[in-house]
Symmetry: C2
Subunit: 182 residues, 2 copies
């Protein structure tokens, strides 16, 4: 078994990371803390800088995660600022922006950044799909309006089976593959 520390404010994210990496022979410690993020159009750059910030605070090899929803016809909006956009205009706002639009393709992207003081490694995962015409049910984030390819259900409607499509899972599996060889 190898070990890694996951730094985040979000305990639910930690539990998901732990659950996925444990199936890949990696145990995960949690360093719960707020990490300043930089502004950038690139999730990879944001996550990479966050990993360096986390390492400086935690003092041992760490991973951090950053993710976002990218809508093709809106030039990648809300992208790296998905949290802020959700807090302000929400899913209602996204549906207004796409009202009457046939081009609704979008993807979720997750980036895992590892840093140990020397090596910075970036692993990403994505799930392609489209934005639904309506908000399917109350759930967190953009899950009630995102329909992954291959289904007619939103992430919120898919509930547990959503994990089969998880962008975060894909990024973590890529990271695990790399980390087990390090």
């Amino acid at each position: 078994m190898k070990n890694i520390t996951f730094a985040s404010t979000n305990q639910n994210k930690f539990l998901e990371v732990q659950s996925i990496l444990s199936t890949r022979s990696i145990t995960v410690d949690f360093s719960q803390r707020h990490l300043v993020e930089i502004q950038s159009d690139s999730l990879k750059e944001i996550a990479g800088e966050k990993a360096k910030t986390a390492f400086a605070k935690v003092g041992r090899p760490v991973i951090v995660e950053d993710d976002g929803l990218f809508i093709d016809s809106l030039a990648g909006f809300p992208g790296p600022y998905s949290s802020f956009v959700f807090k302000t205009i929400g899913n209602d706002g996204i549906l207004k922006l796409l009202a009457g639009s046939a081009k609704r393709s979008a993807y979720f992207s997750s980036v895992i950044a590892f840093y140990n003081g020397i090596i910075l490694s970036i692993s990403d995962g994505r799930v392609d799909g489209r934005i639904s015409d309506r908000i399917t049910e109350c759930d967190w984030g953009y899950d009630p309006i995102f329909v992954p390819n291959g289904t007619d259900l939103t992430f919120a409607e898919l509930k547990k089976s959503k994990n089969e499509y998880s962008h975060r899972k894909r990024a973590l599996e890529k990271f695990a593959q790399w980390y087990l060889k390090l």
Copy 2:
């Protein structure tokens, strides 16, 4: 005459800063450079951190500026991420988000942050107004959709007389008042 260095990527902003501060007996040097910004809901925090970054690079007392458009009914959206939002959904997107809405109040905010290695000073200025129903004419940024209080014209239509309402001018005048006593 006192002197200060303004750090920014944007030469037009420098010319505006120089023009305003010169009437307050302050000469301005330009340090043209890209400065990493942090993510935050607070312009003051973003500008403060940017001033520290700028001081570390420039090595002498500096000011930096950050600004944004805050729409009340959208919980302050696009706020600190006004540039990204403009690049992605643009003024068309803002009008779609407010379609049919009677509550259109908004304000532009500008923050000037000064740092000299010891003292961090924040000066802000704002101009209140509302979002128009249509995009008045081609111009830069949100100027074609923002109508300051006291007029029926957008910033774009007001052209040069827009400066009477400038949030940046108000922030700079506040800064000048403070700086001349330092």
